[in-house]
């Protein structure tokens, strides 16, 4: 069993403290859209009103500068703690919100920078403070403000906003909800990206759940492709196909090598070349140990939730095969719950 699960008192204490901190902390919910005008504000404000009907104490801590009659109608039903305008920037009034201490505060617009000299440089850091104080925050963001996606987004929109929010802040949200709507021509890639960001946040939620409940299983919500490499395999076409498939499925790519014996200098060089190709194609490379080429691969695949294994046709003939059977066929037999794709191999030099 993983050391993570070992029941030592220090670890337990740490878990309890973490749990308590989580309980005291406010919940963070983020509405994510791929562009402005998809309806985030409306969705947020309606949710706030529903919560209030159910008896929660909800206030608004920041609104968007652009409004519409419908938004105004929703806002008119709220207690609003206005933002302060400092040096031409809208800054949320953290102190007033802390003093008022509602159960829930709505902050429409997560990606704002504060003027120099403020307590925090970014609005998301102020939200962090509200959460620490036990206030739940509901907020909204457009895809273009997520730091790690800026290159790709700006290549589509031609604009690059200065304000950004780190993706890790989104990933630690308790809830993320996507506001989807048909996109104008040319912008569907943004829509796709937003859906995938949400899918990844949900995936990490699922993994955390399965880990916490000691469920060791492949659910296959995300395709994970593992390429099994040997020194003599013609690895490039397999790895390239793995990359293409992983991209198509928006999945992950892994590559492994099972180290069995010491290799001849030639084999070692061939292996290094293959592993370099794997890294170049962005595969997560793992070297496994074992004197059987098949079992460690299958064990690793099950641990990582692999859904497809890609390998080359076995070219080796010899006593080992006569004794244990063809390794490709053994792999197919053992890799329960996993698709196995066998690739053509050019005979080596």
């Amino acid at each position: 069993m993983d050391s993570e699960f070992r029941r030592n008192p220090e670890w337990l204490l740490e878990q309890i403290e973490k749990e308590q901190r989580r309980e005291r902390r406010g919940r963070l919910k983020i509405f994510l859209g791929y562009a402005s005008g998809v309806g985030k504000s409306r969705k947020m404000l309606s949710e706030g009103l529903r919560r209030r009907e159910r008896g929660e104490d909800v206030v608004v801590g920041a609104i968007q500068p652009k409004s519409s009659p419908e938004i105004d109608r929703l806002l008119s039903q709220y207690e609003i703690i206005p933002t302060r305008n400092i040096a031409g920037k809208d800054v949320i009034d953290v102190e007033r919100i802390l003093r008022r201490h509602p159960q829930v505060v709505l902050i429409d617009g997560l990606a704002y920078d504060n003027p120099p000299g403020s307590r925090h440089a970014h609005r998301w850091q102020e939200i962090e403070e509200l959460l620490e104080a036990g206030i739940c925050v509901i907020t909204s963001i457009n895809l273009q403000y997520i730091e790690d996606l800026q290159d790709e987004v700006s290549s589509i929109t031609g604009k690059r906003p200065k304000e950004t929010v780190p993706r890790s802040f989104l990933e630690q949200a308790d809830d993320i909800e996507i506001i989807d709507a048909p996109a104008q021509a040319g912008f569907s890639r943004l829509r796709e990206l937003a859906l995938l960001v949400a899918a990844e946040v949900v995936e990490s939620e699922l993994r955390a759940y399965l880990r916490a409940h000691h469920i060791d299983e492949i659910w296959g919500t995300q395709e994970r492709i593992l390429v099994g490499i040997t020194p003599r395999s013609d690895a490039r076409p397999i790895l390239e196909s793995g990359r293409r498939n992983a991209d198509r499925f928006h999945g992950e790519l892994f590559a492994t090598y099972v180290r069995q014996t010491t290799l001849s200098p030639d084999d070692q060089a061939a292996l290094d070349r293959n592993l370099a190709i794997a890294r170049e194609l962005g595969a997560a490379v793992h070297v496994l140990e074992g004197h059987d080429p098949v079992r460690p691969l299958v064990t690793f695949a099950h641990e990582k939730g692999i859904t497809q294994i890609f390998i080359g046709h076995s070219l080796r003939r010899g006593w080992w095969h006569r004794l244990r059977g063809n390794p490709v066929e053994r792999l197919i037999g053992l890799a329960e719950g996993i698709d196995v794709r066998v690739f053509p191999q050019r005979p080596g030099p």
Partner: protein, 360 residues
């Protein structure tokens, strides 16, 4: 344009989500209201209130086409009245529950087929569907939820939709709604909470739905010529259905062309024992329903015939089911898989996993 010219096909928009109560019907009706406000001639063709107050309020002011009553085994059922909608000929029609199966005795067996009729008549359709009804995901949904979904929609039908919009909601909010009885009345609610509405199940379904929606957006954005050609080997074994679904799904993602092949020693199905014949026919029909080209080939040796076909038709991938010996986790010697592996060293061969129901 002259009057006799056939109307252009209607525009299909699908609101996709992953569970009842996510707000699909609400979103659909909201859009219908929006269209009406802009002066578009819109009607509600079918609407399932499920006793939800918010949703019912959203139909206010919209014209609802009365349902058609159909008697079946002494009971009265109500279905969408497709003929009445055609006669009324609106510009846009809202149709709830795309994956619904009509009661026997209806004109068409599936609601999506009714929708096709409306589209062909030039009527735009707004509709709702949950991801778990998508045919190619059937085994995976079964694995995750333990529920075998019977009402499915072939993937090509969704491919025909002009727009697929994800209606997102967090599993927590969904469970809350269910507990408060917004989604179902309370007796149904506790049952629903037991299987589909377990939080981890919802999280997994949600992730699948988000990825599916992203995929739907992606395929609509680009047109690419297929380079891969996939061959699926059909047998009378029950694993064939799983193999066909998986092959279809991979083909869709790789934009590959897809064939399903059965090899018969006599060249046709007539000499097969009745039970085997019935299974093979069912599998070939299933493949055709998923828009996979099917062939029956004559050959004494299935492996050799498949590989020969693959070579002659530039197949790039052969999909096979695992043949497993009963006692060992090993391929039985001389199995079809090992024969094909030996014969087709120049083609990719994919042996698919048997997806099984989880221990819940």
């Amino acid at each position: 344009m002259s009057q006799s010219e056939p109307a252009a096909r209607g525009h299909l928009k699908v609101f996709l989500s992953y569970a009842a109560g996510a707000g699909k019907t609400y979103r659909m009706l909201e859009e219908a209201q929006e269209l009406k406000k802009r002066g578009v001639d819109v009607v509600v063709g079918y609407f399932e209130p499920h006793g939800r107050k918010d949703t019912i309020e959203k139909t206010e002011g919209l014209e609802i086409i009365p349902r058609r009553k159909i008697e079946y085994r002494g009971c009265m059922f109500e279905e969408m009245d497709t003929e009445a909608i055609l006669k009324r000929a609106p510009k846009v029609c809202a149709v709830d529950e795309f994956a619904h199966t009509n009661v026997p005795g209806s004109e068409r067996s599936k609601r999506w087929e009714d929708v096709m009729v409306l589209l062909n008549a030039g009527i735009d359709v707004l509709t709702t569907m949950n991801l778990q009804h998508l045919e190619s995901l059937n085994d995976q949904i079964w694995h995750i939820t333990g529920v075998r979904v019977r009402e499915t929609v072939p993937d090509w039908v969704i491919k025909q939709a002009d727009e697929v919009v994800m209606v997102d909601v967090t599993p927590e909010a969904l469970i809350n709604r269910l507990r408060r009885g917004v989604v179902y009345e309370s007796d149904k609610a506790s049952r629903a909470l037991e299987n589909f509405f377990k939080e981890q199940t919802l999280v997994a379904l949600r992730e699948l739905a988000l990825r599916q929606a992203a995929h739907e957006v992606e395929v609509r954005a680009e047109e690419e010529r297929p380079t891969d050609r996939i061959l699926i080997h059909v047998t009378d074994e029950p694993t064939t259905a799983m193999l066909i679904r998986r092959g279809r799904r991979v083909s869709d993602y790789l934009r590959a062309e897809c064939f399903a092949i059965y090899v018969a020693p006599a060249g046709d199905l007539s000499s097969l024992p009745p039970q085997e014949r019935e299974s093979v026919e069912r599998h070939l029909n299933f493949a055709r329903n998923l828009h996979i080209e099917t062939r029956i080939l004559q050959g004494q040796n299935a492996a050799a015939t498949l590989v020969d076909f693959a070579h002659r038709h530039q197949i790039t991938q052969i999909f096979l089911a695992r043949s497993r010996s009963r006692r060992w986790k090993l391929l039985p010697p001389g199995s079809l898989v090992s024969q094909v592996l030996r014969l087709a060293q120049d083609i990719q061969i994919t042996v698919i996993a048997e997806r099984r129901k989880r221990n819940l």
